[in-house]
């Protein structure tokens, strides 16, 4: 099943993707599959283990099923402070 997902990119991922957000249709069932798909397409250097994921502005598990209109953010290692 295809779902329509909104993705926001920050920091290194934004640089590597070349944009800060996009909406796309995907067959990915969860965030792990979505990242795998995007990593293949754009050559992101960070592996899934390096990242955390948020759906609709809340940290969540990589296995959470995606639903149409979800906003997904892949979170590179944070370096604030």
């Amino acid at each position: 099943m295809t779902s329509e997902i909104h993705i926001q990119y920050f920091a290194i991922l934004r640089d590597e993707r070349g944009c800060s957000e996009e909406t796309l249709s995907t067959e990915a069932k969860n965030a792990a599959e979505l990242y795998e798909e995007l990593q293949k397409e754009h050559g992101f250097r960070l592996s899934q283990q390096d990242l955390k994921v948020a759906i609709n502005d809340e940290f969540t598990s990589w296995q959470t099923p995606l639903q149409t209109k979800d906003k997904v953010v892949f979170i590179p290692p944070v370096t604030g402070g």
């Binding site: 926001q8 920050f10 920091a11 290194i12 934004r14 640089d15 390096d50 955390k52 948020a54 502005d57 809340e58 940290f59 953010v73 979170i75 590179p76 290692p77 944070v78 370096t79 604030g80 402070g81």
Partner: protein, 143 residues
């Protein structure tokens, strides 16, 4: 109260907001932009923030500190945008009746903010290069 600021941090105003006649101690921490990181000379840096989640996670950290330590008031502000060497990147202030809990809570807050809040630092070097700072400790940090 946790917040992200795109403007210069006014420590004095934040400190005044913590005024409390019950407080016998105020512990503050200021994080400053330094001119050298891993041998490279830094000219300025940029903080990029994922605001919706940064505010939530920052607020959660303050709530945890409030539960863990016997403290009266607490504030944390983190900068976003461009900062020059010497500017303040983050301010934490905690008040308590006696100093012990304020010291502990202040340390807890800055450690957790650095490990958990979605903020990223890009350094611009005097050499003209720039790069996202890599996190060396996060692989060990378990949520």
């Amino acid at each position: 109260m946790f917040s992200i600021s795109s403007e210069k941090i006014m420590a004095r105003n934040l400190q005044d907001s913590l005024n409390n006649p019950k407080a016998g101690a105020l512990v503050t921490f200021e994080g400053w932009v330094r001119n050298l990181n891993e041998g490279k000379e830094v000219q300025f840096l940029e903080y990029e923030v994922y605001p919706a989640l940064a505010n939530k996670e920052g607020q959660r950290i303050l709530e945890e500190a409030q539960e863990k330590f016997d403290i009266l008031g607490l504030v944390c502000v983190h900068r976003s945008g461009g900062l020059k060497v010497g500017e303040m990147a983050v301010w934490v202030g905690v008040t308590s009746v006696h100093r012990g809990p304020a010291f502990e809570a202040c340390q807890y807050i800055i450690d957790e903010v650095k490990a958990r809040v979605p903020i990223w630092k890009k350094e611009h070097y005097v050499s003209g290069d720039s790069g996202w700072v890599e996190c060396h400790h996060c692989a060990q940090h378990v949520h």
